[in-house]
Symmetry: C2
Subunit: 351 residues, 2 copies
Amino acid sequence: MAKKKKVSLIGSGNWGTVICKILGNNILCNEHLYEKNLPMFVKKELYNGIDLCDIINEKKMNKKYMPHCFIPDNVMASSDLLEVTDRADILVFVLPHQYVREICETLKGHVKNDAIAISLIKGFDVYGNKLDLISNVIRSQLNIPCSVLMGANLAYEVALEMYSEATIGCKDEEVGILMKKLFQTHYFRIVVVDDELTVELGGALKNIVAMGAGFSDGLNGGHNTKSAVIRLGLMEMMSFSKMFFKDSKMSTYFESSGLGDLVTTCYAGRNHRVAKEFASNPQQTLENLEMNLLNGQKLQGPLTAAEVACVLKLHNVEGRFPMFSTIHKICSGEMPVSSFMDCLKNHPEHL
Amino acid sequence: MAKKKKVSLIGSGNWGTVICKILGNNILCNEHLYEKNLPMFVKKELYNGIDLCDIINEKKMNKKYMPHCFIPDNVMASSDLLEVTDRADILVFVLPHQYVREICETLKGHVKNDAIAISLIKGFDVYGNKLDLISNVIRSQLNIPCSVLMGANLAYEVALEMYSEATIGCKDEEVGILMKKLFQTHYFRIVVVDDELTVELGGALKNIVAMGAGFSDGLNGGHNTKSAVIRLGLMEMMSFSKMFFKDSKMSTYFESSGLGDLVTTCYAGRNHRVAKEFASNPQQTLENLEMNLLNGQKLQGPLTAAEVACVLKLHNVEGRFPMFSTIHKICSGEMPVSSFMDCLKNHPEHL
């Protein structure tokens, strides 16, 4: 009989908490395949003066980030990263992207040679002037393969077991099957594709477009308008992928990680919400709205837009990405939000 | 100087009225290219006891189908089809699809040899056991080329000049440029592609998926769920296109006529609205809801679902289109609406 695999989870935000529920339960249902306990890394922080890690272990709830999600008994929260990942066969990364390098620095040299990773992190890594995929940081720092899981996954809906889809990008077919078994439930349905690259690009780029969809709604655009924002945004996502990541396959944008996630994010989610408020009340700043509306969560759209705009400028191709560029300029205060509609009306797709 | 072209419009429903506004104005701005008057065929009917045709000509408004849309002075409504289309160079078809054969029968032999047509009609033609494209009926009956225009176009939003996109499918590049000039405005933006076939298929098939999106909302599905319905629906639209229309190109589904129209239709529009109500109150019948909610307009989703289901059955491939088949069975009363969620949970995309 094959040795049972140890799964370790790194992250405990809202999505991390939902994922610990899914993984914890799936591990309990497959005890012949996995070590029963699922250690989870929780960044040291207090909630109402009490260590969040202790709350999770005692109350089996993450009162700070996802209070209504029941955490299975086999999840063991800890703030000691090396204890959590000790002897791990499968490392699941689900944390804000700005912490990835720091986490990998700590893990370096402590990960098994034959371990495998999967990243659920949406965003880019920016190091000096270079923009890269988060999974590439994990791969290069830890020297292990890294799959990705992305999709149309508003965390609170998955927590409520509302039917959702996701995409796993994994080059190794066997690993893909293993990962699918680990994550799929009757309400969380998964497609595996071999194009890791485009799965991750979809998850990273969609938050820029979500800001545009919010602007459109705040400026009283209609359903037709939002649909055009989604489609023109997808065209720019695809152009960006083709231009900077040569192996990216356009057909992968038909997956949940592509248009699925894009549609959900443009109708709901924090980026859309804040952008809509901003466009309705432009005397407010994005920073204030982020603080007042998001309960400590971060807005990813403006950051990703800035990172992408920097790359576009460096390569002198801003004109070929008018929506990305305009969204960045609106977020950074260089242009008024009302100019978003002009950007749509003059989009080169229609010339 | 080239002879001025005569444009004739066949149809006067809600979309036809919006299109007569767009065409009328564009013709006035290009009097060197077109004959000034735009004749419009209005089916003989009364509104509050008065001939609708007379109302349109006198009030410059279509009080029955699109009361807030201003009709330009050069639009000349008439219920005499042959008078409207006499000497026409460009025939614009925008009427309910069930009238197309009858209209073409009347037109046969009265159309100029070098006339060209464009169809804005969403739906299929069913003749005996055979399902065909509406544009093929126009092509074969009138023996002239026929382009198509489809997109994310809720009529009342275009009437309000809210920014919208559309796709023209046209095999002839020169005709495509001409058609784009005729239809494009600052708020109605157009992309021309040569794949007429898939543009039309998108417009015809999306109403089936819209019923599914409505069911999902009525059954309290989340944003993630609807996004999955849209994506799985698109997968079935693409499979259907590949299976029954060999020349169809999948990349055309990235156009407004594909995913653009699909997204809009799954969030707004009559099919979504009635399907949502039906799923929330299954003691109601679809027929009653159609009558009570749609003010005389017709629900296209159930009809298209039935037509497509018939073809799938004939070719013994129902199992490969579980969403299309389930939506048809729900609409026809063979299955309860609650079974829609089971269809999602067991969709073969995730097996």
